[in-house]
Amino acid sequence: MRVKLSAATLRSDLVRRIEEISGQDLLACYQCGECSAGCPVAFAMDMLPSQVIRLVQLGQVEEALDSETIWFCAACQTCYARCPKGVDLSRIMEALREIALQERGDHLDIAAIRPEELAEFPQQAFIGGFRKYTS
């Protein structure tokens, strides 16, 4: 993928906003890949967790928002627990989800959940899911 870098995209308002609401220093990540190696959902993702933070480091936020990876992150925080630089990537994923929800709408159609699932699933599955996939 060809990426054109400029000062304006590297430190865009959106990049600054991600840093602000996640409370994370994006440039602290030196791309060791520990997060991707330990991520239990990586098998289902279209982009590795370390690639998502790399895109945001380079100001390519729209590409990160296009990725399904942000929706497959289960916030288990294995990446954060093991990151040698103390970067909480799950907070960056949450920041990207938040921006995607605000700009592009909900990721889950609550009305489409089947009645038998409503009857069966524990409450915390729905409450957790609604908090991550809807605004």
């Binding site: 602000e20 609401i21 996640s22 409370g23 239990p40 959902v41 098998f43 289902a44 993702m45 279209d46 399904e68 990876t69 929706w71 497959f72 289960a74 916030a75 288990c76 925080q77 294995t78 954060y80 627990a81 909480d88 799950s90 907070r91 994923m93 949450e94 920041a95 938040e98 990721h107 889950l108 959940i113 699932e117 069966e120 699933f121 524990p122 409450q123 915390q124 599955a125 729905f126 409450i127 957790g128 899911g129 908090r131 991550k132 996939y133």
Partner: protein, 311 residues
């Protein structure tokens, strides 16, 4: 010993077998859990954005109610424990958030409550030695996999009371009950949690990875501390259910169909750890709701269930 107790939504409804076995076991061990007079949902996930005060308001209200009841709070659901413990830390350590939250929920709370996981109380206040002495039906011969999930381990600096990569507390409890705690590789790996509402195929794959790891180590039973883990791990195995169809083939985000490594897997019952504790203490009754599990645990446990309750 009396201690205020927060059951949480799932234990109050779909996880009644957990709640019942928690209260029965605690009482038998001299621990009186006193349910909070007023409580609400904790929010089920800790909000990860630093400016998300709104999602902290719910758990903050629970903490205020708990502080009125005492200085310590017992929580059995590991997700509630995680959310309450982390919210309490924000209130205690971040002055700006503390002021905002107190203003919003009309309270004056400083964060001086100790939020404790039930397993932590059993280990540190009761002691596994005392539990071992109280066992009436030793679970000798039973091979059990302790599954910790995420919530009592991560983030380690905020919630862990055990080694986050090699936790022991649940294994040690299993050993105290006379059973054998098997060592396996996935005791702290995420089951997929709320991903279940978005992509059941993916949580199925994640849950099977954990269960297969436990099976390979010779486990006959898995015990956990989280209602959502229990649900994901148990339901994925439901015979004849829709989840079973996902067992052979899994579709990922790119639409690629992957062959699952777990076809032909032997179902393994998934219990709450307090159900196993209660059984070993000789307290088993209908209230444990073992009949509500997808994989019936009663055949594996038949040697240890009370005579009168076995029918």
């Amino acid at each position: 010993m009396e201690i205020p107790y927060y059951p949480g939504c799932t234990l109050n409804t779909k996880g009644k077998g957990f709640d019942y076995s928690v209260r029965a076991s605690a009482r038998e061990l001299g621990l009186e859990l006193v349910e909070l007079e007023t409580w609400n949902c904790c929010g089920a996930t800790f909000p990860l954005l630093v400016d998300n005060m709104l999602d902290l308001a719910g758990p903050a209200r629970v903490l205020v109610s708990a502080r009125q009841a005492g200085r310590r709070l017992a929580v059995a659901c590991s997700t509630c424990y995680n959310v309450l413990k982390r919210t309490n830390r924000v209130i205690r350590e971040d002055e700006d958030s503390r002021e905002k939250l107190n203003f919003f929920i009309e309270a004056d709370y400083s964060g001086d409550l100790e939020v404790l996981d039930l397993l932590q109380i059993l280990r540190d206040d009761i002691g596994f030695d005392r539990i071992k002495e109280a066992v009436k039906k030793p679970l000798s011969g039973l091979k059990v996999a302790a599954y910790y999930g995420c919530m009592v381990l991560r983030p380690p600096s905020e919630v862990a009371y055990d080694d986050p990569e090699h936790p022991r507390a649940l294994d040690d409890l299993i050993t105290a009950l006379g059973a054998e705690a098997v060592d396996y590789s996935h005791k702290g790996e995420c089951c997929g949690a709320y991903l279940a509402v978005k992509s059941a195929e993916v949580t199925a794959e994640m849950s099977f990875t954990i269960l297969a790891s436990a099976r390979r180590s010779g486990a006959e039973l898995v015990v956990t501390n989280c209602p959502l883990c229990q649900f994901n791990l148990d339901r994925v195995q439901e015979a004849g259910g829709k989840m079973q169809e996902a067992r052979g083939r899994v579709q990922d985000a790119r639409g690629r169909v992957q062959d699952s490594r777990y076809a032909g897997f032997q179902p393994i019952p998934v219990l709450y750890f307090t159900q196993l504790l209660g059984i070993a203490l000789g307290l088993y009754s209908e209230g444990f709701e073992l009949d509500r599990h997808y994989v019936d645990p009663r055949p594996v446990l038949s040697n240890y269930l009370n005579e009168q309750a076995r029918s």
